[in-house]
């Protein structure tokens, strides 16, 4: 059932140095987040407010979408609607084709990653240049991002230096992050100035004013929105917020949760196109309206893609983003995967969690992530034959006290045997990377009966 997931995780875990480096970098982000949060006296009130606003927004999403559309149009934006990934990709590629665009600069957008936009454009002969440094690195390496905020976190400086040497002709052996960044800056500046169009994501969309809000540290989205005369912004329909006065609530949470910064370097509120330029906003559903209709899962639509749940997750930290094999990894990726259906195998990800609850504890939007993972497990009924047998046996024994007592005594005898690694041990896969605790020698039931009878 989870064989593919186990397999991928094991491939990653094979390189212990890489696992250690990944774990440390990701946990460093988590600690930065903790330090930043500690400086904000009203942090819990902010989380409460943000999730309340989002609940209200989702409850009235039809009205806010229409309001956004009206206001954006009034400001000169062309608004498009896409039911799924294929139609989003078609809208974007037709817009570009109609204007004979050859070169596109793109800033980070998890949505276009989810839709698989790049290969569609490339198939039409359009060059797409990812401009976020981390995204550029994985693009040059021919890989997908492994984290939603720091896409190349799984790569070392030496690997990146070698990659730049191979693909951009930078000096061999260069591995200094500052010099590598400068080299990429120079290379990408050229791409920025040559491009005919820019594609960006959308962090928030304000219904009241029809504005889109785009947040970056590098300034790449701002260069994109400033240079070519065509800007296409792709947004999931859950990105809306009701009013401009709600925006600071979300902005105060986002960067602190993501990297521990008090705010990102650039927060651009864009209302209408630049004079003489075109601005298109593509509103994408792709499984989101289905989530909205599901009482158990609609909360996941509140996600602001900060990455905090990835950084704190013991499974993500060790296994890395690729083990998930979905555009969005980590706890939120596992929660969204069955609905977004970007790739096969989304349903099994609900098993890739220890349900420790750390993700829910750090989520700025107070999304009940581990509860949702549990809900998916229930809904998927992905249990394999062995699990079905175990559940059946447990249920039978637990409803029959005599049988339960006997089972406890038997377990005491077989326990130590189960913990040993021998061919045919049914617990073998569970024991991979785990230790079975020692058995106390007596079943719980026997202990309880004995202790009740011997007064202290």
């Amino acid at each position: 059932m989870t064989a593919r997931l186990d397999q991928r995780a094991r491939e990653v875990l094979a390189d212990e140095d890489a696992v250690r480096r990944h774990d440390a970098s990701v946990f460093d982000l988590r600690q930065r987040r903790d330090a930043a949060v500690a400086e904000v006296p009203d942090w819990e009130a902010l989380r409460e407010r943000a999730s309340g606003i989002k609940r209200h927004l989702l409850d009235h999403l039809d009205r806010y979408l229409e309001r956004f559309e009206t206001q954006a149009r009034a400001a000169g934006v062309r608004v498009h609607w896409a039911t799924d990934a294929a139609s989003a990709n078609r809208i974007v590629s037709e817009l570009l084709a109609a204007r004979q665009v050859r070169q596109v600069i793109k800033s980070k957008s998890m949505l276009t990653e989810e839709c698989g936009l790049n290969p569609v454009l490339e198939a039409r002969g359009i060059e797409v240049v990812d401009t976020d440094l981390g995204e550029r690195i994985v693009q040059l390496a021919g890989e997908p991002p492994s984290h939603i905020i720091v896409p190349a976190i799984h790569r070392s400086r030496f690997e990146i230096g070698a990659l730049f040497h191979r693909t951009m002709g930078t000096p061999e052996g260069e591995s200094d992050p500052e010099r590598l960044t400068r080299l990429a800056r120079a290379d990408l500046r050229r791409k920025f100035t040559e491009a005919d169009a820019a594609i960006t994501g959308v962090n928030f969309a304000v219904a009241e004013t029809g504005s889109i809000v785009v947040v970056t540290n590098e300034g790449n989205a701002d260069l994109g929105m400033s240079l070519p005369n065509l800007h296409i912004a792709c947004m999931g329909l859950e990105k809306l917020i009701p009013a401009m006065s709600d925006l600071p609530v979300f902005l105060r949470l986002l960067a602190r949760s993501a990297t521990g910064q008090p705010i990102s370097v650039y927060t651009s509120v864009v209302t209408g196109p630049r004079p003489g330029a075109e601005l298109h906003v593509v509103i994408v559903d792709n499984g989101r309206s289905e989530l909205l209709a599901s009482d158990g899962h609609r909360g996941a639509l509140g996600c602001i893609r900060c990455g905090a749940c990835l950084n704190t997750c013991p499974v993500y930290r060790k296994a890395g983003g690729y083990a998930y094999d979905q555009p969005i990894p980590g706890p939120i990726g596992a929660v969204l995967a069955p609905s977004l259906r970007a790739k096969e195998g989304g349903a099994e990800l609900a098993q890739a969690s220890s349900l420790c609850g750390s993700c829910s504890a750090v989520c700025p939007m107070r999304i009940d992530l581990h509860g949702q993972l549990l809900a998916w497990r229930r809904e998927n009924r992905t249990a394999g034959a062995l699990e079905r047998v175990v559940t059946f046996v447990a249920a039978t024994a637990m409803t029959r006290p005599a049988l339960f007592g006997a089972a406890g005594r038997t377990a005491a005898n077989f326990w130590s045997l189960l913990g040993r690694r021998f061919a045919g041990n049914p617990a073998a896969s569970w024991l991979h990377g785990r230790e079975l605790p020692e058995h106390p020698g007596e079943s719980f039931r026997a202990q309880w009966l004995r202790r009740r009878e011997t007064p202290k």
Binding site: L58, T181, V249, A293
Partner: protein, 212 residues
């Protein structure tokens, strides 16, 4: 053919909104405005925060001192490079070694700018960010294309938190193409989490506080 495409998009809109109308509960109320957090304000707090995000605060200064500071910054940051000031910044600075950014210029005309002077409207103490209104950066590309950016703000415009920051924006702030909060020079930590200033935008950010 064009009509077909148009119809597809219209029906996509109806399909999506139809599904959402069915799923929207129309229940939860908006929780209202967030109350102001107890955070310190003032130029000193802002300046400290700006430094922590990699920017350099200057001042507060006034009158002739402002001009001297701008001239100094222009020469240290620009070397022999080209210096451009947005008209509303130049209003404060008076004449100097800067050319005026012109509204009509095509964005690519700023590719070779070494230093840009732009006026900021609001400065936020909790995060070191300065709000640049569209009307003060009519040549939007200048903000990100210049190698070094100098923002000029009134020290009276410092607010403690971002809620107050949005509330203090000029009334027409969202009537222009953009409103941009800038907190420090552009940066990245995409290579092994090593912090590097000067990713795609300016390598440095100076903010001059002006006393009127």
């Amino acid at each position: 053919m064009v009509a077909t495409k148009g119809n597809t998009e219209v029906s996509a809109r109806e399909e999506i909104l139809g599904r959402i109308r069915l799923a929207a509960l129309h229940k939860a109320r908006h929780p209202g405005q967030h109350p102001p957090p107890a955070l310190p304000g003032g130029w000193e707090t802002f300046a400290g925060r700006l430094e922590s995000v990699g920017g350099t605060p200057h001042g507060p200064v006034a009158g002739a001192e402002l001009r001297r500071m701008a001239f100094d910054l222009a020469s240290t940051r620009a070397g022999d490079g080209r210096i451009v000031a947005e008209p509303t910044a130049a209003d404060w600075l008076g004449p100097g070694p800067w050319q005026l950014a012109s509204d009509a210029a095509i964005p690519h005309a700023y590719e070779d700018v070494a230093v840009g002077f732009v006026r900021g409207r609001v400065a936020c103490a909790e995060n070191g960010a300065v709000a640049v209104a569209g009307s003060d950066a009519t040549s939007r590309a200048l903000l990100v294309l210049c190698q070094h950016l100098v923002l000029i703000v009134s020290v009276d415009s410092v607010v403690p938190d971002l809620h107050a920051g949005f509330a203090a924006l000029p009334a027409d702030a969202f009537g222009h193409h953009h409103l941009t909060w800038i907190s420090g020079p552009s940066k990245t930590a995409d290579i092994e989490q090593a912090l590097v200033y000067g990713a795609h935008g300016p390598l440095t950010l100076d903010v001059i506080g002006v006393e009127r």
